[in-house]
C-alpha cells in the first residue's frame, strides 16, 4: 500500500466540510430543455382596427414609460391631426380593444385628443427639408388631401393643395359642427400642416377655376375631392319645396356661421353622422327635432356616442319609418307622410334590409325636413378613362387610379367614409405616389411589400414601419393580431374607464360651443395606463419574476430582456404567464 493510498492528495483542495465556494451557475441546466421561449411582438387589435394606421398601442406604451414626447411623435408619425381625430373619429380602435373583455375598452380617443392638444400647444417643428425635385398636386384639403400632402412633405416633396372652398379643411370644416370640432382647433391643426411647407390654394376648383391641364406641371396628382352631393331622398312631392333641404347643405351653412330659421319642428331623415349633426345643429337653432330612420338603432351608421349625445340633448327618434311623400300645408307647414318598415333579410352591407309594411302609414307635421341619407361624389373633373364604379374611383391599395400619375382617395374612393379612413387613404396615397415617382425616376428597389407595413393582415400601413422610425425595439415581430384568448388576463386588475367630461345638457340651444371637454392630463395618463399592450412586451417583467431559473435578464441597453439559454430549462412559464401574448415556445433546434 503506497503513501498516496493512505493520504488523499492535498492538491484537490477538498475542505473539511461541505462549504460552498461557487454558485450553481456552473451547471448548464439549459441543456435539459426541448422547447425554448422567444419574445415575439404581435399586433394589438387597436392598431389593426385603426383606419389611419396609428400605432395606438405603441404610443400608449411610450406614455406608460413616461416618454410623452416620443408618444406624441409616434402618434404624429401616422396622423397629422390627432387633435381633430381625438374629437371626431368614430374610434373603431376601441371596438377592437381587448380590454373590453376584462372591463371596458381603453378610452383611446380621449388620450389621442389630449396628446393632440399637447402637440398643438408645443412649438411647431420646422418644415421638413425639400429633398425631392418633384411637386405633387393635391385636390381637396379635407383629411385625405391634407394627410397625403403632409406625408409627402415629410418625404421632401413640394405639395400644392387646391381647395374649392374659401377655407381649407373640406368636410372637417363644412360638415362637422363646431360643438364637436371647435374652429380654433381646426384652424391651428391646419396651420401646423401648412407649416410643413405645404401650399394650400383655396377658392380654386379644378375643372372650373383651373383646367385639369394646369396640373401638368405636377409630377403626380392626388384627387380627394370628397363627397358633397347629397343623395336624393326621393320623397314624392318634394320638388320645389324649399323647406325640404339636403342636410349637408344646411350643415355647411351653419358651419359657415349662418343661423337659419328652421321653424319649430324639424324632421331629419337618415341615421348617419350627417343626420346626427343636422339634428343637433337644428336643436341648437331652437327647433324640436325628430330623426326618422328606416331601420332600428342597431343598424344606425352614426357613431353611437353621437346618437347618445343627440338623445341626451333632446333629439327625438322614430325608427323603422321612411318618408314617402310630402305636402305643403298652409303657410310653411309641411305634412310628411311616412310608412312603417320592418327588417327583412340582410342586404349587401350585411345589415337587415328595411321592408315596407303595407297599410302602415302615418303623417307628421314639420316646418323643415332635412335629408341626410348619404352623399355622392362629383368626379367629373377626373381625366377621361379614369375608372369609376359604384360612384367611386377604382384604385389599388396605394390609391393609384387607372390613369397614370393620378391617385384618388378619401370619400372619392373609399367606403366607408370617415375622417379616419380618409387620413389612412391620404397616407397610402403618399406612399404610393412616392414609390411611383421613385420608380419613374429610375429607383430599382423593387415593389414595396405593402402587407409587411400593415398592422396585422387587415390593418392600414404604418409610416413608422416604412420610414424605420419606430422608437420601440421590436423583438421578432409577427404580423398577427393578438386576440383575447392569447392573453393571460389573470395579471390584470379591473380599473374603470375614464369617461370624457361633458357640458351638462340643458342650455345647449343657441350655443355651438364644444360639448365634450375630454379628460384631464392626470386622467389621460391614468387611462393610458389601462392599456394592456396586447401582443407587445411592455417590460412588465412578469417573465422575469416567474422564471424559476433566473434565466431572463434585463438587457444591458435597458430595453427589453434576454433569455440566457444556458439556464432556461424550457418550462414555458414565461410564455404561459406573459399577460399580453408577446412570447411563444418553439421546439428546440427549430
Amino acid at each position: 500500500m503506497s503513501d498516496s493510498d493512505l493520504k488523499p492528495d492535498a492538491g484537490r483542495g477538498i475542505p473539511p466540510i461541505a462549504v460552498s465556494r461557487i454558485t450553481t451557475e456552473v451547471n448548464p441546466t439549459g441543456s435539459w430543455k426541448f422547447i425554448r421561449p422567444r419574445y415575439e411582438d404581435r399586433v394589438a387589435p387597436c392598431n389593426s382596427r385603426c383606419p389611419v394606421g396609428i400605432d395606438v398601442e405603441g404610443y400608449l406604451y411610450l406614455l406608460g414609460q413616461d416618454r410623452r414626447d416620443e408618444a406624441i411623435a409616434l402618434l404624429l408619425e401616422e396622423n397629422p391631426m390627432p387633435a381633430i381625430t381625438g374629437r371626431v373619429c368614430h374610434h373603431p380602435c376601441e371596438d377592437g380593444c381587448n380590454r373590453a373583455r376584462l372591463d371596458e375598452p381603453v378610452a383611446i380617443h380621449s388620450i389621442e385628443r389630449r396628446l393632440g392638444d399637447m402637440a398643438l400647444a408645443a412649438p411647431a417643428s420646422p418644415a421638413p427639408e425639400r429633398t425631392r425635385d418633384e411637386r405633387v398636386a393635391v385636390i381637396g384639403s379635407g383629411p385625405a388631401g391634407l394627410a397625403c400632402a403632409w406625408h409627402l412633405a415629410r418625404e421632401g416633396y413640394g405639395v400644392t393643395v387646391f381647395e374649392k372652398a374659401p377655407e381649407p379643411g373640406g368636410m372637417l370644416r363644412l360638415g362637422i359642427p363646431e360643438y364637436r370640432l371647435p374652429r380654433a382647433i381646426l384652424d391651428r391643426q391646419i396651420e401646423r400642416i401648412r407649416g410643413m411647407g405645404i401650399d394650400i390654394r383655396c377658392g380654386t376648383t379644378i375643372g372650373d377655376d383651373l383646367p385639369w391641364s394646369a396640373l401638368d406641371e405636377f409630377a403626380a396628382v392626388f384627387a380627394a375631392p370628397g363627397a358633397h352631393v347629397g343623395k336624393d331622398a326621393r320623397i314624392e312631392g318634394a320638388g320645389g319645396i324649399p323647406q325640404i333641404r339636403p342636410g349637408l347643405e344646411f350643415l355647411k351653412e351653419v358651419n359657415a356661421g349662418a343661423r337659419p330659421d328652421l321653424g319649430s319642428r324639424v324632421i331629419v331623415i337618415g341615421g348617419g353622422n350627417t343626420a346626427m349633426d343636422c339634428a343637433r345643429s337644428a336643436l341648437r337653432l331652437g327647433a324640436n327635432v325628430t330623426v326618422v330612420y328606416r331601420r332600428t338603432p342597431v343598424e344606425m351608421p352614426a357613431i353611437p356616442q353621437e346618437v347618445k349625445e343627440a338623445k341626451e340633448e333632446g333629439v327625438g327618434f322614430v325608427f323603422l319609418a321612411a318618408p314617402l311623400a310630402v305636402r305643403s300645408l298652409d303657410g310653411n307647414l309641411l305634412g310628411l307622410e311616412c310608412r312603417r318598415m320592418e327588417l327583412g333579410p340582410p342586404d349587401d352591407s350585411g345589415r337587415r334590409r328595411p321592408v315596407p309594411i303595407e297599410e302602415g302609414r302615418f303623417s307628421v307635421l314639420a316646418d323643415t325636413v332635412l335629408t341626410a341619407i348619404g352623399e355622392d361624389c362629383d368626379l367629373s373633373f377626373l381625366p377621361e378613362g379614369t375608372e369609376i364604379s359604384g360612384g367611386v374611383a377604382q384604385v389599388d391599395e396605394l390609391c393609384a387610379s387607372t390613369t397614370a400619375r393620378v391617385f384618388v382617395g378619401g370619400d372619392a374612393a373609399d367606403l366607408p367614409r370617415s375622417v379616419a379612413d380618409a387620413l389612412g387613404a391620404g397616407k397610402r396615397a403618399a406612399i404610393g405616389i412616392d414609390r411611383w415617382l421613385r420608380e419613374a425616376g429610375g429607383d430599382r428597389t423593387g415593389p414595396l411589400d405593402v402587407d409587411a407595413l400593415r398592422f396585422g393582415p387587415e390593418g392600414n400601413v404604418s409610416a413608422a414601419r416604412l420610414r424605420g422610425t419606430d422608437p420601440i425595439p421590436r423583438t421578432d415581430p409577427v404580423n398577427e393580431v393578438v386576440t383575447w384568448d392569447r392573453m393571460n388576463p389573470d395579471h390584470f386588475r379591473r380599473v374603470p374607464r375614464h369617461e370624457d367630461h361633458f357640458h351638462g345638457a340643458g342650455d345647449l340651444r343657441s350655443t355651438f360651443g364644444e360639448v365634450n371637454f375630454g379628460l384631464s392630463e392626470r386622467e389621460t395618463l391614468d387611462e393610458a395606463a389601462r392599456c394592456l399592450n396586447c401582443g407587445v412586451c411592455n417590460r412588465c417583467e412578469l417573465c422575469m419574476i416567474f422564471c424559476p431559473d433566473m434565466a431572463i435578464h434585463r438587457r444591458e441597453d435597458g430595453d427589453g430582456f434576454e433569455i440566457d439559454m444556458r439556464y432556461c430549462k424550457g418550462c414555458g412559464l414565461c410564455a404561459a404567464e406573459c399577460p399580453r401574448g408577446a412570447m411563444s415556445m418553439t421546439r428546440e433546434g427549430l
Partner: protein, 298 residues
C-alpha cells in the same frame, strides 16, 4: 397598470442563482426568489431535507447568495432558533433568520421543532413551501397531501383518505405574531407579506403553495396558473393572521368551482364526479369556517 405595480413592488436584487437543480416548471425556486428579494441579503436560510436540498446545488455549489445551512429533516425550527441565538450572541440582532422547509418537514417530521420554536416565539420566519407530498423522494403522501390524491404510497386504488392537515390553524393556536399564506401566482401579495413579516419580531409563519409538475402530473408551464387557480377556487385562500386571532383575507377569492382545478391534475385523474363534489364540499366547509374566523376572530 397592475403589471407596472408588480414591477415596481418586486425588489430587483436576485439572491437566487441560475443553474440550480429544480425540475423545469417547479414553483419552489420562484417562491424562494421572491422571498429573498423581499428579505434582502442580510438573511440566513435554514434548510432541512426537502426538494430544496437538491435545488440548492451539490457541494461545492450554492444556488443562494445568502448563507445557507443544510440540516436534518426534522430540525428546521430548532436549528433556525439556534442560528438566531448564535448571531445574537455574536452581536448581530439584525440578520433575518429563516427556515425554508417543505410540507413533509413542516406538517410531519418537523412539526415538533416548529411547534417548539413557535411556542417560544423565536425570532425567525418559518416558510413552508408546500408541494403536497414527499416529492424529493419520489411522490409519497404527506399529511399535506389533499384528499383523493394519488401518490406512490396512496395508489389510485387507495388514494389519500385523509384531508390535508390544517397547518395554519395549528400555528394560529400558538398565537404567534404573524401567519400568512401566499402564492407564487400573486407575487406582490407574497412580497408584501414577507416584507411585513420582516419588520415583525417573533415567530412568523408563511405557507406558500408550490405546484410540482412531476408530482401533480401537470404540464411544466401550468405551475403558476395552478397556484392561482388554487386561490381562486378557495382551495388555498390567501390570508393573514395576527397574534393567532385576527384573521384577514388579503385577496378576493372568486370561489370558482374546484372541478376544473382538480381535473387538470393527473394525480386526481381517478376521481369520480361524486368524489370531486366531496372535495368541493370540503372546500366550502373550510371556507365557511375561515369566514367565521375573519368575522368573529379565530
Amino acid at each position: 397598470m397592475s403589471q407596472t405595480i408588480i414591477k415596481e413592488r418586486i425588489p430587483h436584487e436576485d439572491l437566487l442563482c441560475s443553474g440550480h437543480l429544480a425540475c423545469p416548471g417547479c414553483a419552489a425556486p420562484i417562491a424562494m426568489n421572491l422571498v429573498l428579494k423581499a428579505l434582502g441579503p442580510q438573511t440566513v436560510v435554514t434548510l432541512p431535507a426537502c426538494c430544496w436540498s437538491i435545488i440548492a446545488g451539490p457541494w461545492p455549489q450554492s444556488s443562494l447568495r445568502v448563507p445557507l445551512f443544510h440540516t436534518a429533516f426534522e430540525t428546521a425550527g430548532a436549528v433556525a432558533s439556534g442560528i438566531k441565538a448564535g448571531l445574537q450572541a455574536r452581536g448581530d440582532d439584525e440578520t433575518t433568520v429563516i427556515a425554508w422547509a417543505g410540507d413533509g418537514g413542516t406538517f410531519d417530521i418537523g412539526l415538533q421543532a416548529l411547534s417548539g420554536a413557535a411556542e417560544r416565539n423565536e425570532d425567525i420566519i418559518y416558510f413552508c413551501y408546500d408541494n403536497e407530498a414527499y416529492m424529493n423522494t419520489g411522490i409519497q403522501r404527506s399529511s399535506a397531501t389533499p384528499w383523493g390524491a394519488w401518490t406512490t404510497t396512496t395508489p389510485a386504488g387507495q388514494p389519500e383518505a385523509s384531508p390535508k392537515k390544517d397547518i395554519v390553524s395549528i400555528l394560529a393556536a400558538h398565537r404567534i405574531p404573524y401567519i400568512a399564506t401566499a402564492s407564487v401566482a400573486y407575487p406582490v401579495d407574497l412580497v408584501e407579506k414577507v416584507e411585513k413579516a420582516r419588520t415583525i419580531r417573533g415567530t412568523r409563519f408563511i405557507h406558500i403553495l408550490a405546484p410540482c409538475p412531476p408530482g401533480w402530473k401537470t404540464q411544466n408551464d401550468e405551475s403558476v396558473d395552478l397556484a392561482r387557480q388554487a386561490v381562486q377556487t378557495r382551495v388555498f385562500p390567501l390570508l393573514e393572521i395576527e397574534n393567532g386571532t385576527e384573521w384577514r383575507f388579503t385577496m378576493d377569492h372568486a370561489g370558482e368551482p374546484v372541478a376544473p382545478y382538480i381535473r387538470r391534475q393527473g394525480r386526481f385523474r381517478h376521481l369520480t364526479d361524486e368524489q370531486i363534489e366531496h372535495i368541493q364540499a370540503d372546500v366550502d366547509a373550510r371556507w365557511a369556517q375561515l369566514q367565521r374566523r375573519v368575522v368573529h376572530g379565530g
